[in-house]
């Protein structure tokens, strides 16, 4: 022990480590009292990031970023006992990243900690948020299953909407004319080297600024930020009512971080990693690409906005979001910090969360997506095995109607439910609709024979509520 102590004294003398670290640990922070637990979110985000780095390194030791072989290396990794857990931790860690960075952003915004003197810290944080979103996208892509493959094409097509350089940008993303050998390596380099490098730099700057400016005190109602007097007031507050960061404030970061780690690992062990989809074979046509849950809201948004606005939304939406992030501390750098004096901040956060949750659910259901796996209507729904009604039911399936319209619980939800079409529509209305289509319905003019049309009309006219005679089974 004495020997170790002497080694330490020598090491500390030649490196000056304790002189650097002790002030960081001991530095006074405002007592947050009732708001204390809100302050654990930043460190939790960092802890999860470090988890991602560690598990990412583990994965990268077996993963081969070759367009032809990545998938089989992932199958291999998932087949090993610990590989499965590491993949699971990395995947649940990604979800934890987006949740924690979102909560941290919301906490900082609500407490207006972006105001003087912490404006640049907000900017570095905004950069980290955008980089995290980039990591989430490129990470899911690296799974390089069918969904990963098609998400590159979709990203390239969205980039293609940028004016002037769109075509070049799209092919830059693909790393060539088509998805091929060079595509995956590009995203691997981005996800493993380039973006994490930027994240490390920004995190370093972010943490330096926290030390330099001090962690923000919980906002007081009626005490606006005045750049002329703030620093002096803050230091007086620390002198009067501060406590050493370690361990009196840091213990909460440790406890919460620990809970986060335990949760992620438990989920990884119990639930396991996301199931690998089919291999990234471009010739498999039966693909239904869907983004991860944290991007479902954006996927839904792109599906519901009107056609004419798509270019605007895809390009200017993110640009506007970036501009808001950048200009917030510059425009609102002083003044009231307490959210009780800034009630719009609650409204904005609630609105954003509601929209993300709502569109996330819409994206999960994806009502616009035709249910191409809908089976032909069973006999007990149709009511007959032969004759025009049965023939009409077959036409209803074969012509693709059922992919968008439900009858008695079978079929898609893009168009109106036709279970009681015979009650709701006249034959003339049905014929007009079938021939002319609609905004979301193709026109069958020239695409349906008159025999098929008669049978279809017979079937639709037979769809009634009981007990008016003709057979119709209520929805399941």
């Amino acid at each position: 022990m004495r020997f170790l102590k002497r080694v330490w004294v020598w090491f500390d003398d030649v490196t000056g480590i304790s002189a650097m670290i002790m002030p960081l640990l001991d530095h006074p922070v405002p007592r947050a009292r009732k708001s204390a637990w809100f302050y654990v979110l930043g460190s939790a985000t960092l802890i999860v990031f470090l988890i991602q780095v560690v598990t990412g390194i583990a994965l990268a030791s077996s993963y081969v970023a070759s367009s032809g072989q990545a998938y089989s290396t992932l199958v291999f990794i998932t087949g090993t006992p610990f590989g499965r857990i590491i993949r699971g931790i990395h995947s649940f860690g990604a979800s934890a990243m987006v949740i924690l960075i979102g909560l941290h952003t919301i906490r900082v915004y609500l407490m207006a900690a972006y105001k003087y003197p912490r404006q640049v810290n907000w900017l570095t944080g905004a950069g980290l948020l955008l980089l995290t979103l980039a990591m989430l996208f490129t990470g899911q892509l690296l799974r390089w299953d069918q969904t990963g493959f098609w998400s590159v094409v979709i990203a390239a097509e969205q980039a293609g909407r940028v004016p002037v350089i769109g075509n070049w940008l799209g092919h830059f993303i693909l790393a060539g004319d088509t998805v091929g050998g060079a595509t995956l390596s590009r995203f691997f380099a981005a996800h493993v080297f380039f973006i994490p490098g930027l994240i490390f730099l920004l995190v370093g700057f972010h943490l330096y600024l926290v030390i330099h400016n001090g962690i923000s005190e919980p906002p007081e109602i009626g005490h606006p930020v005045d750049p002329k007097t703030y620093r002096h007031w803050y230091h007086a507050l620390l002198a009067r009512d501060g406590e050493p960061f370690w361990p009196y404030a840091a213990w909460r970061d440790v406890v919460f971080g620990f809970l986060v780690v335990v949760t992620i690992v438990a989920l990884a062990v119990v639930i396991g990693p996301p199931v690998l989809g089919r291999p990234p074979d471009p010739t498999i046509v039966e693909a239904t690409p869907r983004p991860e849950w944290y991007f479902l809201w954006y996927y839904a948004l792109l599906s519901v906005i009107p056609k004419w606005s798509e270019d605007l939304v895809m390009i200017w939406g993110p640009a506007l979001f970036g501009a808001v992030l950048v200009f917030l501390p510059l425009v609102a750098g002083k003044g009231q910090r307490s959210p009780l004096r800034r009630p719009w901040s609650f409204v904005i956060v609630a609105f954003a969360l509601f929209m993300i949750a709502y569109y996330g659910e819409v994206g999960r259901v994806a009502p616009w997506s035709p249910r191409m796996d809908a089976p032909p209507l069973p006999a007990q729904v149709v009511g007959m095995e032969s004759g025009p009604i049965a023939e009409g039911a077959r036409v209803f399936h074969d012509k693709g109607c059922e992919y968008c319209h439900k009858v008695s619980g079978y079929g898609g939800v893009r168009g109106p439910d036709l279970t009681y079409a015979g009650d709701n529509l006249t034959t003339a209305q049905m014929t007009t609709r079938i021939y002319s289509g609609g905004t979301n319905m193709p026109s069958y003019n020239g695409n349906i024979t008159s025999a098929q049309l008669s049978a279809l009309l017979a079937f639709l006219n037979s769809r009634h509520r009981q007990p008016t005679g003709a057979p119709s089974t209520p929805p399941q």
Partner: protein
């Protein structure tokens, strides 16, 4: 202001302003040139796109295809990289119009690039992503796409049906 340029920063009353300016400028110039020597080729490599030639690929014999039917065919990309594996393939929807005429539709929905499915009994292409629907001739039937399905050039050569392997249609 004289004190605020890089060459004279921190120099209030230096006796050797000239020498100082020279040394600072030399350092900045050499650092810039060194950085450029590394950065320019790195960026050129990263940003340069591999242009592939467009090559005619055979997708089958003439007599394999029935007139009027639309089938899924696949062909290899022009000059794929050796490690591209299964991703070196591209698929297309090929329809035989008459004896010698074919149409090849790109698989990519013109909305955001998802693969469209041909529904033979309905005579429609449907996209699973955002609900785009195309008629048999590739025109938009409904949903978000704004342009008809792209087509690859086709030809019949020595009894073989060929498609011109082309870039993924982006815009």
């Amino acid at each position: 202001m004289d004190e605020n340029t890089p060459s004279t920063m921190g120099c209030q009353n230096c006796a050797d302003k000239g020498r100082r300016k020279f040394l600072v400028r030399l350092s900045i110039a050499l650092s810039s040139i060194g950085a450029a020597l590394v950065a320019v080729p790195s960026f050129a490599f990263l940003l340069g796109l591999r242009k592939s030639p467009q090559i005619w690929r055979t997708v089958g014999n003439l007599d394999e295809f029935k007139i009027g039917s639309t089938v899924n065919v696949s062909f290899q990309d022009p000059s794929p990289l050796p490690w591209a594996g299964v991703t070196a393939q591209t698929a297309a929807w090929l329809r035989r119009v008459d004896d010698e005429q074919f149409i090849a539709f790109s698989m990519n929905c013109t909305h955001l690039g998802c693969p469209v499915r041909w529904l033979a009994t309905a005579d429609l292409f449907m996209c699973p992503c955002h609900g785009g629907v195309f008629y048999a001739d590739g025109q938009v039937a409904s949903g978000p796409p704004q342009r008809p399905l792209s087509q690859y050039p086709t030809r019949v050569y020595n009894g073989q049906v060929q498609i011109l392997a082309s870039p993924v249609p982006i815009t």
